[in-house]
Amino acid sequence: MDELNELKKIWDRSFEKEPVTPDREKLFELVNRRSSGPVGKLKKSLRLEIGAILIAIPLLVAIMFRLSEPYFLFNTGVLVAVFSGSLVYYFHNLQRLEKIWHQSQENIRQSIESTIMLIKFFRKVYFWLNLILFPFGIYFGYIIGFGLGSDGRRVTSLPVFEDLPLLIAVSLIGLIIIALFGLFFIFLKWYVKKLYDVHIRKLEDINHELTEFE
């Protein structure tokens, strides 16, 4: 292995000097730093979702006390239940991530396979949970805007639709909802792809290269 031996001589020479390492204080700082690896990024995404829900839930509870009409009480209660359920699910996945990460440190191949599996799983969870929560998010906006705006009275019509026949008004609202949902679907697909797909492809290539002669 002449080429490797030649390279080895150069390699050994280039590390003859002891590398300069950060002092102890710096190392103590580093051990408390959050990781920016793939699992760290997934955890960051989960923490963002958890943060948003943690803001929404107390807000909804406060609204429940302010809006006395049973209609709003019931619907806001449903939203609180849905968001709380998501919160539990996100927390569960956050813990799962940590556990799987520790189990996956056997060797590089196993770690790469686990990371691919994890990212794919979270890509799916992130996509579907956001898609499911989207209509609830819109409804959250409705409660905030119209519930509080109309001082707790149920809003049965909007001025813009008042002059339209009922069928057209309903169709129009339906179309707006479908368009909003469609746009959100496209955006979410693009966003999830941008966040995870390039990295998944890179890891799959590495895994393929590792295992090609197995």
Binding site: L4, P19, L30, P38, K41, I108, Q110, I112, F213, E214
Partner: protein, 164 residues
């Protein structure tokens, strides 16, 4: 208790700093990404530290986590190292080191940058005198696969070094 664990960990890092430094130089030899990678590796080692039960050699464990962090991280290279000139500081050399040595190191870095992520890991382990058996444990592939890959890497390096 945590202080003791942290102290033990930092002592281990200081003892084996050469491994982390080499992985950093292998995966981002010239640019500022090296600092980010160093910090990432130390952070990952710390997270895994509580799970280390001494079943493998400490150096094997450090190689595994450090290489894994370098290979599977989300880092983007800010600049293309091939377009940069090699400075003495980059290579941890004093100004008095000879021109021949700098040329040698340029060959080393050009060769390394032509390798894939997996090949870089294997070459690094080979250059650090890690046995094929240990390479296969760290990489999670068979020893036969290690041999085949090393042969292929040798062919690749031969072509690169002939061109240079």
């Amino acid at each position: 208790m945590r202080d003791k664990v942290e102290k033990d960990f930092i002592e281990t890092i200081e003892t084996h700093r050469g491994i982390i430094f080499k992985v950093c130089k292998m995966y981002c030899p010239l640019d500022e990404d090296c600092d980010d990678l160093y910090q990432d590796i130390v952070a990952q080692l710390w997270r895994a530290w509580k799970g280390f039960r001494g079943e493998s050699k400490i150096s094997t464990w450090i190689y595994r986590i450090a290489l894994n962090t370098a290979i599977s991280g989300f880092r983007k290279q800010k600049r293309n190292p091939l377009n940069q000139s090699v400075s003495a500081d980059d290579l941890n050399l004093s100004q008095t080191d000879g021109r021949q040595r700098k040329e040698d190191l340029e060959v080393l870095h050009v060769a390394i940058n032509k390798l894939s992520e997996v090949e870089k890991a294997m070459v690094m382990l080979y250059l650090d005198d890690v046995s094929y058996e240990e390479i296969s444990v760290i990489m999670g592939i068979t020893q036969n696969n290690v041999r085949v890959k090393m042969l292929r890497i040798r062919e690749k390096l031969k072509k690169i070094m002939e061109l240079y």
